[in-house]
């Protein structure tokens, strides 16, 4: 707790908040497409690549979007920091 000003912790805090943001986005995407498109009667479903549209957007495209978003954010936004303190134990 004495190391409150450790600059690495500022980076860590920011990245943790990004994690929360991604999870919220993930949830909204997943929920909105699944129940937005899936709540009508199955006769009125549209199909994409053979799958019902709600499922395609929510689960298949949703996964692709999350993989792209996570990759971009980690590659562009995450900072490389050393983990060891002054006393290096190895």
């Amino acid at each position: 707790m004495s190391k409150k000003k450790d600059p690495r912790f500022k980076i860590a805090n920011r990245e943790a908040l990004i994690g929360v943001g991604l999870a919220v986005f993930n949830f909204v995407w997943w929920f909105a497409f699944a129940y937005g498109l899936g709540s009508k009667s199955p006769e009125n479903y549209q199909y994409i690549l053979g799958l019902p549209a709600w499922f395609f957007y929510s689960c298949v495209l949703g996964l692709v979007i999350m993989v792209i978003a996570v990759s971009l954010i980690v590659k562009k936004g995450f900072v490389d920091v050393p983990f060891e303190d002054e006393e290096v134990d190895r």
């Binding site: 943790a16 199955p42 590659k75 303190d85």
Partner: protein, 478 residues
């Protein structure tokens, strides 16, 4: 006996053993036994970190139970399983660099070590160690039973012999190789799971005459199968969404997952693991459960859900490929069990014995004890799994939710909220576990959500209240 299936399984076990022996060389050569044996020397790279996280977390339920339920419920259950994608990035981003830095500073080897330094309280340590030992021991026994049942159904061996083969295989490589063996075998097992899923998905789609054809067959049988609401419309949005806590973000609190967030080498390893983890966990969860749904028109009328996955593999694949694919659930179970075994062993050796019983123990004593405890625990689970006592079956029901409710806030807020203190942590653990058991026993699924939802919220309130109401004046850091 079905030799074409047995031979690939046997080869798979041989590879696993070879890794165990290779890793045991590191254990012998290491200058810091505890750190090497229980944490792999903090040297994991990105691929191995991602794979060991997924493989530990993705247990029998992802490969046997889950597809079985998807077979019955349809696409609604695949939607539910997709709540697990978040684990691929969330755990490492939340615990992330801060946990890695802090646990190195504390020289923590286990989750309990971290709690001990953070809260400086004997009660926190004992409560945490006891919860880990009780809950994970029960979870482990349940997985062993699953593993033995799988071997039994694939090979036609007796349950007891199947259990014996399973137990001996796991025990040998875990005892000799420690965490490094567990992580490396998890990686092999994760790769087997990934390709097993891919092969089986393609073969199932072909056997069903294409996805459109399968969807038409499902709609003809019961239109609910292609909706998000399950075969009888009972999967409500509230219920399905509440799985975001149990198998999604709540996973941050599971000790077998958090321990991995202190085992990696550097920030690049963590970055790579986040990307690989998200891809692999998403791919496996989506497709394994889809296979369960697609299997329905091909093999209608399967009564026991757990048989769907083995039966569809035997149906749509040539036998020797089926053997390779069926090594995947085997791998999933083994990779979960090995981690739990090592974790319970570390709780006994490091958290209880070295902390409180004999702090002055020498390296050699600790080494002997670690091998011994791991072995004895394994034998104990074996005996329990032969004829599981009711208490154990009951405890297993609460294992994952209970650990999440107990640990999520003491771990996460311990990192990010400096006012959090031992009173908050104790209140949070006690309230989390007790309210979960009480709610699930007497008032299950309040407001249509999974029973774990409210205990997680209540343990948050308890943590904040406990920390704010009783102030701890101790400014000096450890």
């Amino acid at each position: 006996m079905n030799w074409e299936v047995i031979i690939p399984l046997f080869l798979f076990l041989l590879i696993i053993f070879a890794i165990g022996f290779w890793a045991s060389g590191h254990v012998r050569a290491s200058s810091s036994f505890l750190q090497e044996y229980f944490l792999g020397g903090r040297e994991l790279g990105g691929l191995i970190l991602a794979m060991t996280m997924i493989a530990t977390y993705g247990s029998a339920s992802s490969f046997i139970g889950g597809p079985g339920v998807a077979y019955t419920e349809g696409l609604g259950w695949v939607l539910l399983s997709m709540t697990q994608v978040v684990t691929g990035y969330f755990v490492l981003m939340i615990l992330g660099k801060k946990f890695a830095i802090v646990t190195r500073k504390y020289q923590a080897i286990t989750l309990v070590d971290y709690l001990k330094h953070r809260y400086d309280s004997k009660i926190v340590v004992i409560t945490a160690a006891v919860s880990i030992i009780i809950f994970l021991f029960s979870a482990m026994a349940a997985q062993w039973i699953g593993g033995a049942r799988l071997i039994e159904s694939l090979t036609g061996l007796q349950y007891t012999s199947a259990l014996f083969i399973f137990a001996v295989s796991v025990l040998i490589y875990v005892i000799i190789g420690g965490f490094r063996a567990v992580a490396l075998t998890d990686t092999v097992q994760g790769i087997v799971m990934f390709f097993g899923t891919l092969i089986l998905l393609i073969a199932t789609i072909v056997a069903g005459g294409g996805i459109s054809n399968i969807m038409t067959d499902l709609t003809t049988e019961n239109p609910n199968l292609v909706t998000p609401f399950g075969s009888d419309g009972s999967l409500t949005p509230a219920y399905v969404s509440s799985f975001w806590i149990l198998v999604g973000v709540g996973v941050v609190g599971l000790p077998q997952v958090t321990i991995r967030a202190m085992s990696y080498k550097n920030a690049q390893a963590m970055h790579r693991a986040i990307i690989i983890g998200t891809i692999v966990v998403g791919f496996i969860m989506l497709n394994m459960h889809l296979i369960g749904v697609f299997a329905r028109p091909i093999l209608p009328g399967i009564e026991v859900g757990d048989k769907v996955m083995p039966m569809i593999a035997m149906e749509v694949l040539p036998p020797w490929i089926a053997g390779i694919v069926l090594a995947a659930p085997m791998a999933a179970i083994m990779s979960t069990v090995d981690s739990l075994l090592l974790l319970v062993s570390s709780a006994v050796v490091k958290d209880v014995y070295v902390n409180y019983i004999k702090p002055e123990a020498t390296q050699t004593q600790v080494k002997k004890l670690s091998f011994g405890v791991t072995g004895v625990l394994g034998i104990l689970v074996f005996v329990m799994a032969l004829d599981p006592p009711d208490l154990l079956v009951w405890l297993n029901l609460f294992a994952f939710g209970g650990l999440e409710a107990a640990f999520i806030w003491p771990v996460v807020l311990g990192l990010y909220w400096s006012r959090g203190n031992k009173y908050g942590a104790i209140a949070s653990m006690v309230v989390g576990v007790l309210s979960y058991i009480l709610i699930d026993s007497f008032y299950p699924e309040p407001l249509g959500m999974h029973s774990v939802t409210f205990p997680v919220l209540m343990s948050l309130i308890a943590y904040i209240a406990g920390s704010l109401l009783i102030r701890v004046e101790q400014k000096e850091s450890i």
